[in-house]
Amino acid sequence: MYPHLITDNTVTILKDGDTFTLTAASPAFPQVLDLIRENRWDDAIHAMTPRIAIEEYADGSLRIEGDTIRNRNGDAIDHAIIPHILSMKAKGFDVAPLMAFLDKVLRNPSMRSRNQLWRFVSTNSIAITPEGDLLFYKKVKDDYFDVHTGKSHRYTVGSTHSMPRSHVDDDPESTCSHGLHVCSYEYLREFGGQRTLLCQVDPADVVSVPIDYHNTKVRVSRLHVLREVQNPTPFDTGVYHNTSEECPF
């Protein structure tokens, strides 16, 4: 047992005079308390230290040099992903979908789009599929046609829609512009239309995240319609198996 202190909103462990401390706001907080209860002190310290926790969870796929997180190829990954990594670790998800997601983000050909995607990640929960694709909602009209024109795209379940990337507006300051639009739960009530669809989007196809509505709306160049959702719920960071019974959608 190491000297430690647990209060309502903090946990602190001392090991050889080094302080490891965490607030209750951290996604790892409940897990750390459990580990302490099980007397697994070193594991608790590892869970409390994001550097160690991330490297442990990624199992060699990510490494941290100074203040930079790098993947296997040495590409830098934005710090916005850290809370999501810790959260997925705490929830016990497999690391592979997350790594696939990061690979796909880095495969996005535009730096401008990647930066906007990190901004989306920093303010939203990310729901991903086992292949590392992002899940989004989309509202369509009663006849499944798009809300904006009502005639250009018919989003039937199982259909895939794409448009040339160069035709999608990549300026985050143009809040309503050209492109296929998807959104997170928070934006749904701003989105006109009668039916809500669950869509799968490859992070490499994300073009821009307009700056209004707290980064909840996304313009993409390609999307796949998974299913229609009767009662949409907010996404929680995690991996969603579209086929499984536990899928909340």
Binding site: P3, L5, T12, G17, T19, T21, T23, P50, H79, A80
Partner: protein, 618 residues
């Protein structure tokens, strides 16, 4: 901070029952920690950094703001550290302070070291004192009372105190650093990019910062200055310096206490500071050789007041942000460049406010202008989203001011030029109805108008209203037709871009009035329309304007056809409907009664006509 407690207390015939005391319990502690500060994060940064500065004023402290990778806030000073006795007697005692005897130190309320309790229930203190490194943990125990636990000791060769507060990374931690940005020596900031702005002007009494709001610097701690309490005027980013203790602060030390004495102290410092700095700037201005120098000097200067300069007999207004260049109809501005909808819009009669970063081109060429300008802009280092691009025909003002103007004709062409298509020639039908050649056929027209029943120009359906409007404007039947046109002249309905600045200005003035008259915008003017129609019936005012309001927006897009305009006869004066209407009402006071009613409809026009006729006869 020197705290003097020598209140007058003279009494006689009173029997003291007891002293007031402060109960030490969890509620009281809560009042002194989490309920004391309205902004706990800023307070923790300020209080702990102030203590660190009091501890050591030679070696800079290290402040680490929480990041996603290191979610805790820490401050490390290089003072002597605290002994176990000091920890027990001062650090843990609310209201205990060793700093009340003199004004060289910031603290004195005896609350600062406890400020992390405002945010979290425990934090760690590591004291390196006389060769021993002791780790303490301060925490709020289950009954709400704080306690200090000593955890671990080991030898060390360092000195100083480190405080580690568990924290969630947010921008508030970075924002809070602004209160300690005047600390000397400057703290070493880790975990974020924080730049310390250097003052643009520094005196013992005040500092002038390049940007921001007015502040008060008490010792090294910066406090926002509530300017409205001091002066009704706006105050540039001045930082007034005061020694510790000369200005009262609240117990939370989050803001200044604006007592009458404080306000007068602040006022007595602010006004001379403003006057002094204005003098400094004026002195520098006298050393400028050109207006361009003035502009450079005023750029980033905190005084935004405009200054008037005379260059070659013309006065120019120069402010810190722009030079105002008198209006000239030839100036055109590029708009929509960022949205890739490149468009040239005329500035008309508005004054051109030219900023430092703007680029001015001399409008002396018409070929591939967009491509050449865009290519040139890419070579310029300082072009940002805020850069405005202007095309001017007359460079006099810019030469007067020493502002560079780039002639478009000197810009290279980009890419390969296609062979020009065969120049289109157009014929003009003169007032006589016969075909006339353009007198300047050497230069072909660049635009032509489709001629068909649904007259369309630039994708806009032009209605017959425009036809009658154009007839009224030009007082001549003019047409621009393509050479291939073989139809009858009688069916020609054409309106080229007969642009005329005077007409345009007139329509702009009256656009809203006419629009209100002719549309259902729910405006009062609309309801007056029947009355106006009745007056027009009696020929008291000009005929009712045709409903053209919706077309006004297209006027600005019309091309400048200076070649064509030469052949136009003079314009007949257009009526000023609003003025005429007012004049008639003033001439016949009875009519004011009719004007008061706002529910006339077009069916009332005949009745109104006869009524007005009767009223005027009377």
């Amino acid at each position: 901070m020197l705290v003097e407690l020598n209140n007058t207390h003279q009494s006689s015939g009173l029997q003291k029952v007891c002293d007031f005391a402060i109960e030490t319990n969890g509620v009281m502690i809560k009042a002194l920690t989490s309920r004391l500060y309205s902004n706990p994060i800023a307070s923790i940064v300020r209080e702990l950094a102030s203590n660190a500065l009091d501890a050591c004023r030679t070696t800079p402290m290290t402040v680490r703001v929480p990041t996603q990778l290191d979610p805790s806030f820490s401050i490390r000073d290089h003072g002597p550290g605290l002994s176990p006795q000091q920890m027990a007697e001062v650090f843990t005692r609310f209201g205990a302070s060793t700093k009340r005897s003199d004004n060289s130190q910031i603290g004195g309320f005896g609350l600062g070291a406890k400020s992390p309790f405002a945010l979290v229930n425990s934090y760690t203190i590591i004291s390196h004192f006389e060769g021993t490194r002791t780790t303490y943990m301060a925490s709020i125990t289950s009954n709400g009372m704080p306690a200090l636990h000593s955890v671990n000791t080991r030898p060390t060769n360092e000195t100083g105190l480190e405080i580690i507060v568990p924290a969630t990374p947010t921008n508030q931690w970075v924002d809070a650093l602004s209160q300690i940005k005047f600390f000397h020596p400057r703290p070493i900031i880790k975990g974020c990019d924080f730049t310390f702005d250097d003052p643009t002007y520094d005196t013992p009494d005040y500092l002038v910062m390049p940007k921001g709001n007015a502040q008060v610097l008490i010792g090294p701690v910066a406090y926002p200055l509530n300017v409205q309490r001091i002066t009704p005027n706006s105050v540039p980013p001045f930082v007034l310096k005061f020694p510790i203790g000369s200005i009262e602060v609240t117990a939370s030390r989050e803001e200044i206490v604006y007592s009458a004495a404080t306000i007068s102290t602040l006022k007595a410092r602010l006004d001379p500071a403003l006057a002094h700095y204005k003098g400094v700037v004026d002195h520098l201005l006298t050393q400028c050789r050109t207006i361009h120098d003035v502009w450079r000097l005023l750029e980033g200067n905190v005084f935004n007041s405009d200054r008037i300069f005379l260059a070659k007999g013309i006065t120019y207004k120069v402010s810190s942000r722009y030079v105002a260049i008198p209006s000239s109809p030839d100036v055109r501005q590029v708009s929509g460049r960022r949205r890739k909808t490149w468009r040239l819009s005329s500035l008309g009669s508005s004054t051109l406010h030219l900023h430092q970063e703007d680029v001015v081109y001399l409008d002396d060429d018409t070929r591939k202008v967009k491509e050449r300008i865009e290519a040139h802009l890419r070579t310029l280092p300082n072009v940002t989203g805020g850069t405005d691009i202007y095309l001017v025909k007359d460079r006099t003002h810019f030469d007067n001011l020493g502002i560079p103007v780039v002639p478009i004709s000197t810009l290279p062409y980009t890419g390969t030029l296609r062979a020009s298509p065969k120049p289109r020639t157009f014929r003009i039908i003169g007032p006589s109805g016969k075909l006339a050649r353009d007198p300047n056929t050497a230069i072909p027209f660049t635009h032509y108008i489709k001629v068909n029943d649904n007259l369309e120009w630039r994708g806009v359906q032009i209605t017959s209203n425009l036809y009658s409007l154009m007839q009224a404007r030009c007082a001549a039947k003019l047409a621009v037709v393509p050479p291939s046109y073989r139809g009858s002249l009688d069916t020609l309905q054409d309106f080229g871009p007969h642009y005329d600045a005077k007409v345009d200005a007139f329509w702009k003035d009256h656009a809203s009035f006419v629009k209100d008259f002719t549309t259902y915008q729910g405006s009062l003017e609309y309801y007056r329309r029947p009355l106006y129609e009745a007056l027009a019936e009696l020929k008291l005012v000009s005929p009712v304007p045709s409903p053209t309001g919706a077309l006004f927006s297209y006027f600005t897009d019309w091309q400048d056809i200076s070649l064509l305009r030469k052949n136009l006869p003079a314009l007949p004066p257009s009526p000023n409907y609003k003025q005429e209407f007012t004049n008639v009402l003033n001439a016949h006071p009875h009519l004011h009664l009719l004007n008061k009613c706002s529910s006339w409809t077009s069916r009332d026009v005949p009745a109104l006509t006869s009524l007005i006729r009767t009223l005027i006869k009377e």
